[in-house]
């Protein structure tokens, strides 16, 4: 009896946690825990959706995938915390700012750094930049691998191992559905069950229309259903100008050859030299540096010194609703993030610590890696004392443009 009551309570809690985001999205009519198939979604995807919103799959019982990747914030962070909290007591900081999952997942290429065979072409035209992979450092080539990390990381969902996750899945209200989809004996094979659960998550993330609604005003503009205001038009011009903002070089903003709408990322890696963020407790330790591609989270590129400090370019859709910017969440307003781009080199003391009149520029990287920071692509080419590329009014214009990238269902993150 007690067990039944417990399961009933658990089920009600599940139901609430599952319903909440859909109630907010006005999608409750489509939700069913173990009901009939939802049009367009595979059985795996429907299971994956339940797993995605299930906080009981974490050690704390309070952290679902959706806790950090909030559906009302374009599957980005729900608030302005530089990094989200996880772990058994939800008191351990994550490593990096939470990226939005919207739009990019099915288009993210596996991580690669193509090698150009001709040494002269490498010299003349440049080496191919690394690109792709999931996460800020691109270390996951599949959504399944990324999910395994979050489910098991001690500072995220903090399960002790795959068996721990599967034990929780067996108790989930959708356990019978899990068996129906993956076989009656699936829970007797924990490694298989763990793999299938992650596959289900991937199906949900790739199939569910909520990951790619294309409902922003900019999408309407691209289809000729809306016009841009004067500030927005000025903003897009500043954004695109190759000798100015040059933003579109990494955040393409035009339709694809097939008319598809832009994702605002080329998935390539870049070192911007974002200042160290004291909000991240790990940064209090001298000698600790998050160097992106070359570690410490990623290990397979550890010997590639030229890749230290590089992080993957994020998409900019819904960027105006975020409260946390760049890989370390150093900035909390879009205006500050844009100011950093245009004043990083002209006013370095605004961003980096100084001692004896000397600015410790690019202070979130070891000194010997600071040469990797981009100082050759506009707008990152100016020097101290020069005028910034954009004034405040121009930054406001760019923000006006970026606000057109907000989907209709997305709400600003909490402060």
């Amino acid at each position: 009896m007690r067990r039944s009551s417990s399961i009933a309570r658990t089920s009600r809690r599940y139901l609430r946690s599952l319903l909440l985001p859909y109630l907010m999205l006005g999608m409750v009519a489509t939700l069913s825990l173990v009901g009939p198939a939802i049009a367009g979604l595979s059985a795996q995807a429907q299971l994956g959706r339940q797993i995605f919103f299930d906080p009981a799959l974490s050690a704390s019982g309070r952290l679902a995938c959706s806790s950090c990747h909030s559906p009302t914030q374009a599957y980005g962070p729900p608030d302005g915390a530089a990094v989200q909290l996880g772990g058994l007591a939800r008191d351990r900081q994550g490593s990096r700012a939470v990226p939005s999952l919207r739009y990019v997942l099915n288009r993210t290429p596996v991580w690669s750094k193509p090698f150009i065979a001709s040494s002269t072409e490498r010299l003349l035209e440049g080496e191919e930049p690394p690109a792709g992979g999931f996460g800020w450092d691109g270390r996951f080539n599949t959504l399944e691998a990324q999910a395994a990390f979050s489910l098991l990381a001690p500072n995220e969902m903090a399960n002790k191992g795959p068996e721990d996750v599967v034990r929780k899945l067996r108790l989930a209200p959708y356990a019978n559905e899990f068996r129906r989809v993956f076989g009656e004996a699936i829970f007797t094979q924990p490694q298989q069950a763990f793999a299938r659960a992650r596959e289900a998550l991937a199906h949900f993330e790739l199939e569910d229309p909520s990951f790619h609604p294309y409902s922003s005003r900019y999408d309407d503009y691209l289809e000729g259903r809306a016009t841009l205001t004067a500030p927005e038009r000025r903003g897009v011009a500043l954004f695109e100008d190759p000798r100015g903002g040059n933003c579109a070089a990494c955040h393409p903003d035009r339709k694809g050859a097939d008319g598809s709408h832009p994702l605002f990322t080329d998935f390539q890696f870049e070192a911007l030299g974002v200042p160290r963020n004291p909000e991240i407790a790990a940064n209090a330790k001298p000698g600790y540096y998050d160097e992106g591609l070359c570690g410490p989270l990623r290990t397979d590129q550890a010997g590639q010194m030229s890749e230290c400090g590089l992080f993957k370019t994020p998409g900019l859709r819904n960027v105006a609703t975020r409260r946390v910017f760049f890989h370390n969440g150093r900035f909390h307003t879009l205006k500050e993030a844009l100011q950093f781009y245009v004043r990083r080199d002209t006013h370095p003391a605004q961003w980096y610590p100084s001692a004896g009149g000397i600015v410790d520029k690019f202070d979130d990287l070891p000194r010997e890696r600071r040469g990797n920071v981009d100082v050759t692509d506009a707008p990152l080419t100016r020097t101290a004392g020069q005028e910034p590329l954009w004034n405040d009014a121009q930054i406001d214009d760019v923000i006006a443009f970026l606000e057109t990238l907000t989907d209709r269902d997305v709400r600003p993150a909490a402060r």
């Binding site: 290429p109 002269t120 050859a257 097939d258 590639q304």
Partner: protein, 433 residues
């Protein structure tokens, strides 16, 4: 009559007539299959590499090896353009139309033509896409009722990146997304390693402005169906593998950090695998068996001479990489290369290292070519010098087109005379009399 018109246009020179141009059994050829690979020098490909056993040990004995075949320039695009049009480079096509290099226009922009020079050469301040007044081999072929198709591997794999037919970037807008190979993703499971700069056809308005471009510049996947019957096989089949299979990307070893975007080894290893897949299909086709010629060559050589020196006072290391840029066949630089070739460019300049790139001359260095045909003497070789202009001339002759384009034409006033491969008695069977 049409041929006479061709012979009198501004980009053509009148010379030897088509009827007398081909003096061997090559005159019977009516279907030509060209596969262009990337960036390998002759010694690597045909003497030392162990990565291309199919090319060296199967195709070479089966056909003819042109040991003195040269590329016409560095880097890629100018070679492809010379091969189908006889045009020497502009400042931009000499550097793959990449923005921010030495070219004046960059990206996928129209050639900024200011006039004409001898042998129908376009004089231009820069740019990449030639006007409709500049003709190509395929324009010539169409005029005499011959058919052609360009088969581009991977083109359109990512339809957001480029169209699956006649794929090229929007003219004058933004970056050419095909400059970098795209690795596989959920949406593009095969990845996309099509490179516009290896597809010569889309650099001519005479081709891309025509609706027929969509039916004539297509993905390689169309080739098997086209090979099924002789009547469905174009007279000219021009094949560009993707960036991995043409050897542009990857070292060919498979070692970590040296692969293509899709994880394949690339280099001659992937090129050889590509040839091993596609060449048997071509050789088995009715069109080839009836009257075919297969040509496998490269765009340019990758041969360089590196040198390293260190300044003991400053500790600065200077690395100098030198391309010989050798030419053959009395190749002319054309009217647009002043200050561009030869040249020395400092591409890296830091307190610790300086890297210089030296282009000693304007050619593409020695690459070699393999020809296979029922009309070729198996295992033969020819040391006659040829280059991409020679190949263009040879194709014009084989297809009995009166008139030659650009530098494929002789210029008796300067003594510029090209050999035509179809008349090379060292490799082709003698004509029956």
């Amino acid at each position: 009559m049409l041929a006479a018109v061709w012979a009198c246009t501004s980009t053509l020179a009148c010379a030897r007539t088509a009827a007398e141009a081909v003096t061997t059994q090559a005159a019977r050829i009516r279907h030509v299959f060209i596969i262009v690979l990337e960036n390998k020098n002759y010694a690597d490909t045909f003497e030392t590499s162990t990565q291309d056993p199919y090319l060296r040990q199967t195709l070479v004995p089966m056909g003819a090896l042109l040991t003195q075949y040269y590329g016409t320039g560095h880097v890629s695009l100018d070679n492809y353009i010379s091969l189908i049009s006889g045009q020497a480079p502009t400042k931009d096509t000499a550097d793959d139309c990449l923005p921010g290099l030495i070219g004046s226009v960059g990206n996928f922009n129209d050639v900024a033509q200011t006039g004409w020079a001898a042998q129908g050469q376009v004089v231009a301040t820069g740019g990449c896409i030639y006007s409709t007044r500049v003709k190509t081999l395929v324009d010539q072929m169409q005029q005499v009722g011959l058919t052609w198709r360009g088969y581009m591997e991977d083109m359109g794999n990512d339809p957001a990146r480029e169209r699956a037919t006649c794929g090229h970037p929007p003219i004058g807008v933004g970056t050419d997304l095909t400059n970098t190979a795209e690795a596989p993703s959920s949406a593009v499971p095969l990845g996309d390693a099509y490179a516009t700069r290896h597809n010569p056809f889309v650099y001519f308005h005479s081709i891309i402005d025509a609706k027929s471009c969509d039916s004539q510049v297509v993905n390689l996947s169309h080739l098997p169906a086209d090979l099924a019957q002789a009547r469905t096989t174009p007279n000219l089949v021009f094949i560009t593998p993707n960036l991995c299979n043409d050897g542009h990307d990857g070292a060919g070893t498979g070692a970590a950090g040296t692969t293509c975007a899709n994880g394949q080894p690339g280099g001659l290893t992937s090129s050889d695998a590509f040839l091993k897949t596609w060449v048997p299909r071509i050789l088995a086709s009715p069109a080839y068996r009836q009257d075919g010629l297969l040509i496998v060559t490269f765009d340019e050589s990758s041969f360089v001479t590196p040198s390293v020196s260190r300044n003991p006072t400053t500790g600065q290391t200077t690395v100098t990489v030198t391309y010989p840029g050798q030419t053959c066949c009395h190749q002319q630089p054309g009217p647009n290369l002043a200050g561009v070739r030869p040249s020395t460019m400092t591409v890296v300049n830091t307190p610790s290292v300086v890297t210089n790139l030296v282009m000693q001359d304007f050619g593409g260095d020695r690459i070699g070519a393999v020809l296979v045909s029922p009309f070729i003497v198996p295992g033969s070789t020819s040391a006659t010098p040829y280059n991409h202009y020679s190949l263009l001339r040879s194709l014009e002759d084989i297809f009995r087109i009166d008139g030659h384009l650009g530098f494929a034409a002789d210029d008796p006033s300067t003594g510029y005379i090209l050999d035509s491969i179809g008349s090379d008695a060292a490799i082709f069977q003698h004509r029956a009399h």
